[in-house]
């Protein structure tokens, strides 16, 4: 369509194929005799003006970049969902099965202390929420799962969780003394 001088074609190709911005000095050595570097670069720049790509200066050299205003249209968002850390998942599961439940109870069931960051992560993900206080000295906060928890796990209600007895065949008897009722129990 346009009439390209050889110098312009050559520099365009070299800048295109290079991995790094091409230093002006390197471009100058490539130019055919008599061709002017600035004029050639200006011609390349003009040829692409208003197009999808543009010639830009970078450091001591030049390079092609896609036009910045197109970045939004070209942006492709790839969702890579995170997994909850194991500790958070276990805590969530205990809240789901034993709610409403105090922090101390969670710690007893897991047999390990519960860090604030784990609880924060579950709160931030809107998976657990405070559900009043237990009426014992110190009035500790009770924790329960949120409606969002049900949505996230594709459950219609807490009753959709498998019963503890179906899940914990051998642990069911040993758990009888401390924390019996599962969410499916009335």
């Amino acid at each position: 369509m346009t009439d390209y001088p050889h110098a312009e074609r050559l520099l365009e190709a070299v800048i295109f194929a290079s991995r790094e911005p091409v230093p002006l000095r390197a471009l100058a050595t490539l130019l055919p005799d008599g061709a002017d570097l600035d004029a050639t670069l200006a011609a390349i720049h003009a040829h692409h003006a208003g197009g999808g790509i543009e010639l830009v200066e970078a450091g001591q050299g030049v390079m092609f970049r896609t036009a910045p205003d197109l970045a939004f249209a070209l942006r492709r968002v790839v969702e890579v969902p995170r997994r909850l850390p194991r500790v958070a998942m276990e805590t969530l599961a205990i809240v789901a099965y034993h709610q409403p439940v105090t922090r101390a109870q969670i710690e007893e069931i897991r047999g390990a202390s519960l860090s604030q960051s784990t609880l924060d992560a579950l709160l931030e993900a809107d998976l657990v929420a405070p559900a009043g206080h237990k009426e014992v000295p110190g009035r500790p906060t009770l924790w329960a799962t949120t409606p969002h928890f049900l949505v996230q796990f594709g459950l219609k209600s807490l009753r959709d969780l498998p019963r503890q007895t179906d899940l914990l065949v051998e642990a069911a008897s040993s758990s009888a003394d401390t924390h019996e009722p599962g969410p499916a129990d009335p």
Binding site: A17, R82, A93, I94
Partner: protein, 255 residues
């Protein structure tokens, strides 16, 4: 076909035998040297040239690769079939074998032409070049959580199993009211009671078993004695096995 015998390039071939990728490669080159369509080459002339080259090469280098010699033996057999067939069957065998050889040469020639065609194309990275510094507009969004029920259940089982395993080594929890607990309760409550009060009033509300009740009673008595020793409370029992009464303050102040 006239110049086949006039220009046998055997000397050159002997020297360059290593340059050929096997006997078939050499045969194809010899065939091409006949400068005619591969469909019309003289197999007999080809065979004679090959045998001459191998013969010449053996005079110079005894260690000739096996496949060159195998091909030579087969071609010698083919030559005998083509030149001096013992009978009609042998002649037919020779013709079939010659056709097979010609077909193989044509197949190799076609591949060579294909390779040449590919080679003549502008190759990426050789003659033409792709973008040197590609741009990536992909953004990784890790804000969403990957949650599924099996993982939740597995986590629950893991938590219960671990704590279950731990529980086996734990001593049976003390269910009884301790003297320490009684002391705290008594200290807290005694201030709000003006006069003599049955010590049983200071027992905790929850006493599931008679044993727990007796344990709580004795703990509270010990706590009362402890307070009396420090002068913070007074104790009194009016009759043997009667109720034990307690009030705040030392004994002598009220007498």
């Amino acid at each position: 076909m006239a110049d086949i015998d006039s220009a046998p390039p055997t000397e050159a071939f002997i020297v360059q035998l290593d340059g050929f990728a096997g006997p078939l490669d050499l045969l194809l080159d010899l065939a091409r040297a006949q400068k005619v369509d591969l469909a019309n080459i003289s197999i007999l002339a080809l065979v004679e040239q090959y045998l001459a080259i191998i013969e010449g090469a053996r005079r110079i280098r005894l260690e000739l690769a096996a496949d060159w010699l195998v091909m030579a033996a087969w071609l010698a057999w083919l030559k005998s079939r083509l030149l001096l067939p013992e009978d009609e069957t042998a002649a037919e065998e020779g013709e079939i074998a010659a056709d097979v050889l010609a077909a193989r040469l044509r197949a190799l020639e076609a591949i060579r032409a294909g390779a040449a065609w590919l080679n003549a194309r502008p190759q990426l990275g050789q003659d033409v070049f792709e973008r040197g510094a590609p741009e990536d507009f992909t953004e990784i969004d890790r804000s969403r959580l990957k949650l599924d029920l099996p993982a939740l259940l597995a986590a629950y089982l893991a938590a219960r199993r671990r704590s279950g395993a731990k529980r086996q080594y734990r001593p049976k929890p003390i269910l009884y009211w301790t003297a320490q607990q009684a002391l705290e309760r008594l200290t807290r409550m005694l201030g709000s009671v003006p006069g003599w009060t049955d010590i049983a009033a200071f027992l905790p509300e929850r006493r599931e078993t008679p044993l727990a009740h007796r344990a709580a009673l004795s703990s509270t008595l010990i706590a009362g004695l402890e307070l009396a020793r420090g002068g913070d409370a007074s104790l009194r029992q009016d009759a043997p096995f009667g109720p034990i009464l307690i009030r705040p303050g030392a004994e002598h102040r009220n007498d």
